[in-house]
């Protein structure tokens, strides 16, 4: 699992690449929590376009981060997940808590606006 985190204004865009299971969940959790603290971000958009596998450990990671950002007054979104991963998310009731979208542009405004600036600046 590789993880690239972009932070700008009060949002993180976390691009996950590879397989998200119990083994890799620890790394993702630590890196994102550290980035939240370091940057003062309160919103997270998870880029799942390059996640090739996810089991219920991924649900635990997303719910854990959801609780964190909600406590900070922020929101959480996931975009670009495969059909099977979306099925697992639906089964677990995640869409009641977070935005699940095809594209980053369809995620919540704050993150999308920040990401737009990153696209424009050629960072993302």
């Amino acid at each position: 699992m590789e993880l690239i985190i972009y932070a700008k204004y009060r949002a993180l865009v976390a691009r996950l690449q590879g397989e998200l299971d119990h083994h890799s969940a620890g790394l993702v959790r630590e890196e994102i929590d550290r980035a939240l603290e370091r940057t003062g971000a309160v919103n997270i958009a998870f880029d799942f376009r390059h996640v090739t596998f996810m089991d219920s450990s991924g649900i635990g990671v997303l719910m854990g981060r959801y609780k964190k950002v909600t406590a900070l007054g922020g929101r959480l979104a996931v975009f670009g997940a495969s059909d099977t991963v979306r099925r697992i998310m639906r089964m677990s009731g995640l869409e009641r808590f977070m935005v699940i979208a095809d594209k980053l542009e369809n995620c919540f405004e704050e993150v999308a606006a920040d990401a737009q600036k990153q696209y424009e600046n050629g960072i993302y």
């Binding site: 397989e19 299971d21 596998f53 996810m54 089991d55 219920s56 099977t84 697992i88």
Partner: protein, 140 residues
């Protein structure tokens, strides 16, 4: 009729979760499953193996076994450990129930196994271990 079987054993290290689901995927490929079916099998096996690794032996080292068999168009996997066992299987199978609420476990493992496989059977005895049997018919 196609018949095959395999058995692999590994220690309860979390990086063996990936190993186990890769073995399961390679084993079933002979039945020519769709990409979705393959992902479902990998996910269900990953859930069972992760349970064995997290809960099976608490913090002790132990062995997890993955057995597979093919019979016609049906695949069966058995994931077993000789660890602490599950005190209440029905409760463990409930959606969102987790034996480790202090960690970020979603409690969706058995629900996902049941959704992705045709049959899921759990046998467990406290102090003796747990055995999860999963069956899926690969029809195209």
């Amino acid at each position: 009729m196609l018949r095959n079987s395999m058995k692999t054993e590994f220690i309860n290290r979390s990086d063996n979760e990936r190993f186990a689901r890769s073995v399961a995927a390679a084993f079933v490929i002979e039945l020519d499953p769709t990409v979705d079916q393959l992902t479902e099998i990998k996910t269900a096996v990953s859930e069972a193996v992760t349970n064995a690794i997290i809960h099976g032996y608490e913090n002790e080292e132990g062995t997890v076994t993955l057995e597979g068999s093919l019979c016609g168009d049906t695949v069966e996997f058995i994931v077993s450990d000789s660890g602490v066992g599950i005190p209440d299987i029905n409760r463990a199978r409930e959606p969102l129930f987790t034996g480790k609420p202090e960690t970020e476990r979603s409690g969706m493992g058995f629900t996902i196994m049941e959704a992705f496989m045709d049959i899921v059977e759990v046998e467990s005895a406290v102090g003796k271990g747990t055995r999860v049997r999963m069956v899926k018919k690969i029809s195209r």
